[in-house]
């Protein structure tokens, strides 16, 4: 018997067969893309998923941190973006330490750890940050999800009287790097906080955060490595190294 002739297959419509072939090729390219980049939600956005997941989540709307727009999309450098770190409980408890686990302000009722897979995923990848969100709603959802499962909160590993302000962060799955906007300041819940972008350059921008009379510059760096964090932020070397330590060295808080 000779090798199979394609005509031996059951009758196939040419157009549909072509579409089938195109779909097959597309599927392999698609899977290749998400496997190599980790962009598992491909444009649908994990943020969109969380929007739905936390549709009933109540946000008071008082905080408006940086949007998820990329730096090049930051249109108005002087736009005032009030930052309210009390949503992360730092300002309310600026000396939060591993011995004083912070309670989330508003947890989703009946939420179970299983609801937060995406959140853990993000948190697990972004080595240097436990909170990684495009907007406040996600930020709080992530925070609660992380907290409820007792996920390590490295944000608390900074010095007792300093608070990390996460204005916006993103991550690169493939490179396992993060791009972050971070800064620290002396926390004081009694003073209003503001942040404004003061400088925009390709690949980075600087934002000025005011805290009462004090202000510090927040730095943004794409795909931040250890060197990036050291160079672009005001953190001390030992602080950056503490963030980058393997998971086993992490201090656990919350329900543990």
């Amino acid at each position: 018997m000779s090798a199979l002739d394609r005509t031996q297959l059951p009758k196939r419509n040419g157009l549909l067969t072509f579409l089938y072939a195109v779909l097959t090729v597309f599927m392999f390219l698609f899977f290749g893309y998400i496997i190599t980049t980790g962009d598992v939600y491909v444009g649908l956005g994990y943020s969109a998923q969380l929007e739905e997941q936390y549709a009933d989540y109540e946000w008071d709307g008082t905080q408006t941190a940086q949007s998820s727009a990329s730096p090049s999309q930051v249109a108005v450098p002087t736009d005032q973006k009030p930052v309210q770190p009390t949503t992360l409980q730092f300002a309310a408890n600026p000396t939060a330490s591993v011995a004083e686990p912070v309670q989330p302000q508003t947890a989703k009722p009946n939420a179970k750890p299983a609801d937060y897979r995406a959140a853990f995923f993000v948190a697990g990848l972004s080595r240097t940050l436990d909170v990684n969100a495009a907007n406040e709603k996600e930020l709080m959802a992530l925070w609660n999800g992380i907290y409820e499962a007792g996920f390590p909160r490295r944000l608390n590993q900074v010095q007792a009287n300093k608070t990390v302000v996460v204005v916006y962060s993103d991550y690169n799955h493939a490179a396992q790097t993060v791009r972050v906007t971070v800064g620290y300041r002396v926390a004081d819940a009694s003073q209003p906080d503001t942040a404004s972008v003061v400088k925009v350059e390709a690949g980075r921008y600087e934002a000025k955060a005011s805290h009462g009379a004090d202000s510090v510059l927040l730095h943004w760096a794409e795909n931040a490595s250890r060197q990036d964090l050291l160079f672009n932020t005001d953190f001390e070397e030992h602080e950056v190294d503490a963030w980058l330590q393997p998971q086993k060295s992490t201090v656990y808080l919350g329900k543990r």
């Binding site: 059951p10 419509n13 549909l16 072939a21 779909l23 853990f120």
Partner: protein
């Protein structure tokens, strides 16, 4: 159980690579279902356009899809049990292999190798064939056939992949490998794609897998591979597609009843056990290939 959930969160989501692989694996599986719907729609449309469509083909397709209901119900519990077992074993062995990206690639290849032997055993050991025969009982070949599973399939897979955990592979990598092997195979269940040139030499393809589903004498017990066909070439079970196979079991089940589809082989199996005249025959009925008789 809650303790284990916490343990799992710590063990998996505390490691960026494991978190990445775990989430990616499940996401790939989710997307597979989306693509499967598209593929199946095109196949059904092709049947209609080429006047091949019939009520029986459509019901047969539904019958295959219907097997997913009991399969998922069983998998939820069985899979959860294996997850705990895998982690328990992995945590209590001293020869854990490194958790690296390359190790994950190796794990997928190793999973495909294990799958070859699992699949071969499922065809050559009657006890295991009880489960796997469900997948082969459809007389048609389309994407729905890829999802035609037995409620006992998770036991089969979980048991064989345990070997990888015992070898020191991290459970998350094992599950990722298992998922990749399964996901790869859904697109090879069709009659829309002919032969794929050089790929036929290395990869499992629709053509190779049509052979695997054939009930013709020369196609029986061939092409067990999951992702790669090289295992069949290495171990003497490779067969090229030379004419379109007749699909299904050698004895057609002639039913789309979901219960009968799941347990079709059980009746004959237990009848043979009861009529066994010796302990040797009894074991033979269980562990020898389907169709084995003491006189052979």
């Amino acid at each position: 159980m809650e303790d284990f959930e916490q343990y799992y969160v710590d063990a998996v989501y505390g490691n960026p690579l494991l978190a990445y692989i775990e989430t990616l694996s499940f996401s790939v599986y989710d997307w597979t279902l989306v693509f499967a719907i598209a593929f199946l729609s095109l196949e059904i449309l092709n049947d209609v356009v080429t006047k091949r469509a019939s009520g029986s083909r459509f019901v047969e397709t539904l019958s295959s899809i219907a097997t997913q209901i009991p399969f998922y119900l069983s998998e939820v519990f069985i899979f959860a049990g294996f997850v705990m077992l895998y982690f328990y074993i992995y945590d209590n062995i001293t020869w854990q292999l490194p958790v690296t990206g390359w190790m994950c690639v190796v794990a997928v290849i190793a999973a495909d190798f294990v799958y070859y032997w699992e699949h071969r055993a499922a065809h050559r050991i009657r006890l295991l064939w009880l489960a796997h025969s469900v997948h082969h009982s459809s007389p048609i070949m389309n994407t729905a056939t890829a999802f035609r599973f037995s409620v006992f399939d998770p036991v089969l897979s979980g048991t064989f992949y345990l070997l990888l955990v015992l070898a020191g592979v991290h459970p998350v990598f094992v599950f990722a490998g298992e998922i990749m092997v399964q996901v790869y195979q859904f697109w090879i269940h069709n009659e829309m794609i002919g032969k794929l040139g050089p790929l036929e030499e290395v990869m499992n393809t629709p053509s190779h897998h049509r052979v695997h589903h054939g009930s013709d004498e020369k196609y029986l017990d061939k092409n067990y591979g999951g992702i790669f066909i090289i295992w069949d070439r290495m171990f003497g079970t490779f067969q090229r597609e030379e004419e379109i196979p007749n699909y299904g079991l050698t004895t057609p089940i002639n039913t789309v009843n979901p219960f009968k589809v799941q347990f079709y082989e059980f009746g004959g199996f237990f009848r043979d056990l009861f009529k066994a005249k010796s302990v040797g025959e009894w074991f033979g009925r269980i562990f020898k290939p389907p169709g084995w008789e003491p006189s052979k």
